[in-house]
Symmetry: C2
Subunit: 351 residues, 2 copies
DNA sequence: TTGAAAGCGCTAACAA
DNA sequence: TTGTTAGCGCTTTCAA
């Protein structure tokens, strides 16, 4: 025997107080006598009252909704590919659970960044949902069209994986340090000719990672010329092309730092095709640490991004912002991990 | 300080008509003169008007929200495990995109099925969101506590992977046929002692798959005694235990049908530990076809579930239902695929 | 074919 | 510390 819908009115009647008092109680506002608070809470429990999100949004200023914006093409491609990604899963793990803790919901939304109508798409989502905050995933946080729009609309937002100053909360790992750590890992293993495959230029972190590699090479007193750098775009194909040229020629590299797992996997294939042993002849280390790193042969050593932690932090900051863009956009830097697996090893004595 | 928003009022003023007329236009209702319709649409386009979901829910009966209910523990475990799942991703792929097509949103929600408060958790989500429909994922569709609750609350729901008659739309693949196909695949390869590892009893499909195996064995004129059946619960550990006993003893099996990938992977490990070649000494076939099947060594032959298609169909049916539980709960049966990889092969001559 | 009025369930601003 | 009064932006009667 279930009621049709229990509203704040029913609770007020049951507790013998006004609507406003009930509202205060469910919003944990001060200025409610303990005795009254108790009565209202009892009524809420008895009737199984849960406030309607839609009504709260209508009356007040908050919607209790956080919007997570992801790149449509890339996400769908990931879902349809055989490889499996866990970017989305980790986002949900971190973001959804944090939202749930605070009575918020996270709505996952795909937007087509490349189309001329990014602004329209995002504006529409905002008009429709009136989210209290927006989580921007790479490379959206680096897209001024988007960040400017959100600033103008005064919707608080968090940029995941975007370290720039700018508006909105910046939540990222230290990409340069991570690339340096990856490079250093190889240096420690005795490598001196360490190639680097960049990610797409669209991502600011692509440049930052390259800088990290340069820094580590310099610190180790190694040459870091352009002959060791290849431009990739995160795709398998670009990784393969990059690896091809790095391992051929008069001065082949003995190790490669790839800016993501797909490109590292491509390097692995190239090595196999050429009869190069991994890590015997070629060490490979990558960024992201998606599931494929664990199942490739050999498993890939990789830099793991704290995606869940970043999403969680983003949600937290946005919820704290209570719908108002923060004046002081703080930057959170979360720790990365270097997961050593079997694709990296000591350089050959005859290297 | 409220955020500037274009409302139906502005559109009405711009087009010189009443609110109702605008409402009719955006809801594609009849009885609007073409000329007026055009004027309103022009105003909508000019002002960039997008109706507010919250307001639509408040005024009318629909919320434009579809709730996807997933098992909390299992989902979080999948996210946290190293393996990577793609159940959630495929759900989003199918469900979200279909919802988006119709101006709906899909909200992904985790519920703790095992706790005594399932009813409270689900009732709360419904009270809060007033979804127009709910997608139940396994094993929720087989849980009478949940299906009865939703029936009582008159919220339309779709059961994914649940074939029973009952209330709500049933959307599933033919589990028995799939298990039979998997078994048959092995029979064709010359196997006669084919073991079967079941899934958790909590899932109705566990029983159905077992029946499919029995059917195929019988059809092939093979013995299908209980000595060939082991009870698993979808975990790696249970799969390992099951495989252990199937490959040992006086009459070891030459092939195993495992009810999910994790258990198949466990069987693979058991084979390796015992020095059994796969598929030379032991063929393994599994259900689900998550990413791990593609990266294990050898890659696993598996039955792929049409998860995205099922989620898409579920969303479609619920949207069509327009918030009213359908009288005739139709059942959709979607096709599965057998993906042949390297873990199954001909039985040894001396087998 | 159109429009006017009455809410939906809640919160913000103000009174008491 | 509590209650009262307006709306929020839409859809749903119902009337014209």
């Amino acid at each position: 025997m279930r009621r049709q819908t229990v509203t704040i009115k029913h609770v007020a009647a049951e507790a013998g107080v006004s609507l406003q008092t009930v509202s205060r109680v469910i919003n944990k506002e001060p200025h409610v006598r303990p005795a009254v608070l108790e009565r209202v809470e009892a009524a809420v429990a008895k009737l199984g009252y849960v406030p309607s999100l839609a009504a709260r949004r209508m009356g007040g200023s908050r919607s209790y909704l956080i919007l997570a914006l992801n790149d449509r093409d890339r996400t769908i491609e990931g879902w349809q590919s055989d490889g499996g990604t866990d970017w989305v899963d980790q986002m949900l793990l971190g973001g959804m659970l944090k939202c749930a803790e605070h009575g918020y919901r996270m709505i996952f939304e795909l937007v087509d960044t490349h189309a001329a109508h990014v602004e329209r798409e995002i504006s529409a989502a905002i008009s429709s949902l009136h989210p209290d905050g927006i989580i921007l995933t790479p490379p959206h946080g680096d897209n001024p069209v988007i960040t400017d729009l959100l600033t103008r609309l005064r919707v608080p937002f968090a940029r995941i994986g975007s370290a720039g100053e700018g508006a909105g909360f910046s939540i990222a790992m230290d990409e340069a340090a991570a690339a340096a750590a990856a490079t250093d890992h190889l240096v420690q293993l005795g490598h001196s000719r360490i190639g680097f495959v960049t990610g797409s230029d669209e991502y600011a972190l692509s440049v930052t990672r390259l800088e990290g590699w340069r820094r580590a090479m310099a610190a180790a007193g190694l040459a870091a010329g352009d002959d060791l750098v290849r431009h990739g775009d995160f795709t398998f194909r670009s990784g393969a092309a990059a690896a091809e040229t790095l391992v051929s020629g008069p001065q082949p590299v003995t190790a490669i730092v790839a800016s993501n797992d797909q490109m590292a996997l491509a390097a692995l294939h190239v090595a196999q095709d050429r009869g190069l042993a991994v890590p015997g002849d070629l060490s490979i280390i990558s960024f992201d640490d998606t599931p494929i790193t664990r199942f490739s042969v050999p498993p890939l050593t990789a830099i793991a991004q704290p995606i869940a932690a970043m999403a969680s932090r983003a949600a937290e900051l946005l919820i704290e912002a209570r719908g108002q863009p923060a004046e002081t956009a703080e930057a959170s830097v979360l720790p990365f991990r270097l997961v050593a697996r079997a694709s990296t090893g000591p350089v050959r004595a005859d290297g």
